[in-house]
Symmetry: C2
Subunit: 441 residues, 2 copies
């Protein structure tokens, strides 16, 4: 998944044109979101670690060059020139886990034009998806304080990488773990698992299935109890618990995956509690998202853990962000795209954040990078001359920081419902620059 | 992206329990969609080629085994047993590109229980996403007969694999090509490219940008004309065309990416035609999907080609399918899940399709695999004893077949609007079997 050809053809056709014109001046591109989807009051920036990795390892290998030569679309001289292609530029970015808003650059790439151009597609692909998922997952985190939330979504994620990156992004946003084993290996996200209906069905006898599973995983068994009749299964769990206790073993939890989850959870809790099995936790899953989780929490359903899959990692109510990666400066001169409905703020920029007396976000200002302004600058150097100068923090540290960011959001933005938008005010100098450019062209 | 650990943890915890019980009887699992999303009248099956590849190469390598040992969740004996793990089972499937409907198995895996169970997550991940995208892309194909449709979506696809597989799935469904270079290399999908706004902005002067690009790509230049003022840019294209003609060169097309695409296309067409540049094609892009394409076609907008990206490859109006992979038979005995709202038809099944006198789909029947029934059986053998017995056809052949399938759809199902649903009738024998199982348990 790290092929340099993981890019749009036009990046390469533009590169060939630049090559022929010997055009490769210093360019500044910024990645930002134009506007938020409905039902998003903030975004959590994510994906920077993967971008740093991508830029560090970017090169055309022999197979890539051979394919480009054989394709016939490119000149041999141009293809030969790609053998030495490396990313030698600078990257500034807001740290992963930072709350971010429309028009605020999340990432800024300053590099020779060809390098900054070629990386457009994959850099967007990474930052867009992880930011999308972190922002969606954060909503479940806000809706279910103190509950255990597990990513269950690999099977309906959009391909393998979506499954892996959504495990990372949702953990970063405050989820407790993931069911995806490869994400546990690759990113160190804690792995969680229960059992499938097929396990019960293969045994035919539900009680026998529960017992064999509990004995195979003496500390960790979470038994799925909705294959036939949820409450009848709960009574089988009670019987099994007594039998296991005689051997010094215990059951960790039960999972309910269908029907009225709140109602079943209440009945199952009552059955378990009547047998003094108060330590057995209840795990709920099945088409969950932040809205259903909020309702279950509001009903005080006795659910300890939620498995949240498809709707989270496809960001089902808003499956994409209106993001862009735009040239803002070339050879020291600010640039501005003026396409209808898609005009951008020109020049290399910075975002300054000021906090209210209670520690929550007060106001953001979008300024030129050269302006002095009160507040904390959000964009900071992460790569210089193609080398990482600020290594990605450990994922657990990013997760802690993201939690602090969520705590700093004004109360209205923490709601699942659409709130009065928070947005950066644009500095007078930046507005003047935009007007100057418009007047000149 | 082929790691065997690209799976849910519960697949492995179940496998360990099966290992300890020495339980590994013959199991039949089926993958199907429970119901269609709103605004989908049919699905096009896709992803089978990737599944065959996955199953053929499935194994635990030394790193996988080391990680599982170190994780501490599994017994050393169980992890050791995985060293020899291979997929040795049978696969029956409906061919890629086949129109398919709720409850109809798309894929059937008959294998020793542990093998059939372990592959659940990744098999679903592949078939779900490609089927989702092929089904979405087919709608644009139906909405824009005879137009050139190009996948533009890598940048906002959900990760790299989604970008690659959506290029494949949309081509299979009738798209003309993709902008994603790696998909061209890997799947042979024709690659298309234009230029970005940054190209124009970097040059500052639009006319100079157009000329340099056209000279770098003498046969293929598609010039992006909406960076500043679309119609003014079109007049620059006219001037450039005259200049290039003197050198025996031509411009292939122009692209419009913002504003009222139909209105701009009409004005640009008039400007080009007035200069007798009738051969220059007009390419439109920008937040397109089948609905907008349908409107532009209905308006008779003079648009020759559509670049369709994000909304297609995220299937934005229905970003997931309600699909399942369920155990239907174990050790020769049919099984049935009865969870509320999620009950399944038991046993190993077949779908028979009968056609109407006009060649269109007439009726589908869902039967037991052992039943004789009139019509064409849709599920056919593709793997036996772990080996491919029906290699995936060339992608171009699948695309042609999918086109024939779209032509065979009843007219009402070809509409973008929700139509009276088409669904398989369930055979009396299958209904009796379900009732028998319910009575017995």
């Amino acid at each position: 998944m790290s092929s340099v050809l993981l890019t749009d053809l036009y990046e390469l056709t533009m590169l060939q044109a630049y090559f022929e014109q010997r055009m490769n001046g210093h360019a500044v591109f910024e990645l930002f979101v134009r506007k938020l989807p409905p039902h998003r009051n903030f975004l959590l920036a994510a994906g920077l670690a993967q971008v740093q990795d991508y830029l560090t390892n970017l090169r055309f290998d022999a197979d890539d060059l051979r394919w480009l030569r054989a394709d016939g679309r490119f000149t041999p001289e141009f293809v030969d020139s790609l053998a030495d292609f490396r990313f030698t530029g600078d990257v500034d970015a807001v740290p992963e886990g930072t709350a971010t808003f429309p028009d605020e650059p999340i990432l800024q790439i300053s590099a020779p034009l060809r390098e900054a151009q070629l990386v457009e597609t994959r850099v967007m692909n990474l930052v867009h998806y992880e930011t999308l998922v972190a922002s969606k997952a954060a909503r479940s985190v806000l809706a279910a304080p103190g509950r255990l939330l597990v990513d269950f979504g690999l099977r309906r994620a959009h391909g393998a990488e979506a499954g892996l990156l959504s495990a990372r992004a949702s953990y970063l946003a405050g989820f407790t773990g993931t069911a995806t084993v490869e994400a546990a290996r690759r990113f160190g996200v804690p792995a969680y698992g229960t059992m499938a209906h097929s396990y019960v069905q293969a045994h035919g006898d539900e009680a026998r299935a529960f017992e064999s599973f509990a004995r195979a995983h003496p500390e960790n068994a979470v038994l799925l109890i909705d294959t036939y009749d949820t409450e009848r299964a709960a009574t089988k769990v009670v019987e099994l618990a007594a039998k296991l206790a005689a051997d010094g073993l215990a059951i960790k939890g039960v999972r309910i995956d269908s029907g009225d989850l709140g109602e079943h959870a209440r009945r199952v809790r009552a059955i378990l509690d009547a047998a003094r099995l108060t330590g057995i936790t209840i795990f709920a899953s099945g088409n969950l998202d932040e809205y259903r989780v909020r309702d279950l929490v509001a009903q005080q359903a006795p659910i300890d853990a939620f498995g949240i899959g498809t709707r989270m990692n496809t960001s089902a109510d808003a499956p994409f962000l209106d993001c862009a990666y735009k040239l803002q400066e070339y050879e020291g001169r600010p640039r501005r795209k003026r396409s209808e409905g898609k005009a951008t703020w020109p020049g290399r920029k910075q975002v300054f954040r000021q906090y209210a007396p209670d520690g929550r976000l007060g106001s953001d200002s979008l300024t030129l990078a050269t302006e002095a302004h009160p507040g904390t600058p959000l964009l900071a150097p992460v790569m210089r001359a193609g080398r990482v100068v600020a290594a990605p923090p450990a994922l657990a540290a990013v997760r802690e920081y993201a939690g602090a960011e969520l705590a700093r959001l004004p109360q209205r933005l923490r709601s699942l419902d659409a709130a009065d938008p928070y947005s950066a005010e644009v500095s007078p100098a930046l507005r003047r620059l935009a007007a100057d450019i418009d007047a000149r062209t």
